[in-house]
């Protein structure tokens, strides 16, 4: 079998990019996610950061934080790296490759927020980093269990009805993506959002949502 199993819940296969044993493919669903990731990566590349207005409470005063793009150069670089990792993750046709890209997204997310100097944001980022590190265990554990029990990591094979993937592997995979992208645990992320540099902070959310959408498709298909 050398194509995507039919029927696939993400739609029929549109295009395939082969990297030896690893195959990346586009279905309507992954193409949509890919387009969205490209869009926001481009926005992160071309847009300048916003200037945050803060109100001094107890008076009429307000002040604007003037942030030059040069100050956020590193955030922009990490945001672009994060966008590229997301692009890789959403079109990957291989479970292990997907988990690798996911952990790369986790690391670049930490990179985006670690570059800020605000103490509150850094405290939240620290907790986020801890969770992202814990998450690599279930993430790669899930991929490892899939390989050990089915002997393959190719989604084309796994999406077929012939192979049964154990529930525990799916649970590990979802848990890992949740940790890397912080999908439902939004506490630390909400605090991170307070940092300036909207286009770059936004990439954190874009990547985690897209990863979550992709892992849902993978888990439902397997």
């Amino acid at each position: 079998m050398n194509s995507l199993a039919v029927p696939a819940i993400g739609g029929a296969e549109l295009h395939v990019i082969e990297f030896g044993d690893i195959v990346n493919y586009f279905s309507p669903y992954t193409a949509m996610l890919f387009a969205f990731a490209v869009l926001f990566t481009v926005i992160a590349i071309v847009s300048r950061p916003e200037r945050q207005v803060d109100i001094a409470f107890g008076g009429d005063a307000y002040y604007t934080k003037d942030i030059q793009p040069e100050q956020l150069k590193f955030q922009r670089f990490m945001a672009i790296a994060c966008g590229l990792a997301t692009l890789g993750a959403v079109v990957s046709g291989d479970v292990f490759n997907f988990t690798l890209f996911t952990s790369m997204v986790g690391i670049t997310n930490i990179g985006i927020v670690a570059a800020y100097k605000n103490r509150h944001v850094l405290n939240a980022a620290f907790q986020y980093g801890i969770v992202a590190m814990i998450a690599t265990v279930p993430l790669f554990g899930g991929a490892a269990i899939i390989l050990a029990t089915t002997g393959t990591l190719s989604m084309w094979e796994l999406f077929g009805s012939a192979i049964a993937v154990p529930l525990i592997a799916k649970a590990f995979l979802v848990l890992g993506v949740m940790g890397e992208g912080m999908a439902p645990f939004y506490v630390a992320k909400a605090e991170i959002t307070r940092a300036p540099g909207a286009p770059y902070v936004l990439i954190i959310h874009v990547s985690s949502l897209l990863l979550f959408l992709r892992v849902v498709e993978i888990v439902l298909s397997m």
Binding site: M104, V131, I134, I168
Partner: protein, 156 residues
């Protein structure tokens, strides 16, 4: 905002969840729960030894881990002080700690020829012809290095 330990059950849960200091703990708890379920279900999981290295050495198998060309590993020049204690000298699994030995005895998945620890299965994956994975792994390392370098060089 009421002080800690007051209010309805829902607002108490909300208050606990809204403290990001508990975040790693909450997530770790979830991981522990799923891991325990995983360990319990381990005996029921199949082991695909057609694709992954078998637990018992089978010289005739094309997957024979030592048959990678070159000098066979079992003719190692290492001299054992106590050959009785290390019958597998030269093998990756030659020395297992008592805990590893116990796990290897009880499971298909641990203590195989190369897979003497769980991370070994990841190595298995990489022994296949998987070019892109290697690229991505290197990228992850580079990104991590970049972050560390940036933080180190940052003027505060």
């Amino acid at each position: 905002m009421k002080p800690e330990g007051q209010g309805s059950i829902i607002s108490r849960i909300s208050r606990a969840l809204s403290n990001y200091d508990y975040l790693a703990g909450v997530y770790a708890l979830l991981v522990i729960i799923i891991t325990i379920i995983g360990i319990v279900s381990l005996p029921f999981l199949a082991y695909e030894d057609v694709q992954v290295y078998p637990k018992h050495i089978d010289r005739s198998s094309p997957l024979d881990p030592y048959d990678r060309g070159g000098t066979p590993f079992n003719t190692t020049a290492v001299h054992a002080q106590y050959p009785d204690n290390s019958p597998y000298l030269g093998y990756v699994t030659a020395y297992l700690t008592p805990l590893s030995q116990f796990m290897a005895d009880g499971s298909h998945h641990l203590g195989t020829t190369i897979v003497s620890h769980p991370g070994g299965i990841i190595d298995e994956i990489l022994y296949n012809t998987r070019g892109l994975d290697t690229v991505v792994e290197t990228s992850i390392l580079f990104v991590a290095f970049t972050i560390a370098a940036y933080l180190f060089r940052r003027k505060d």
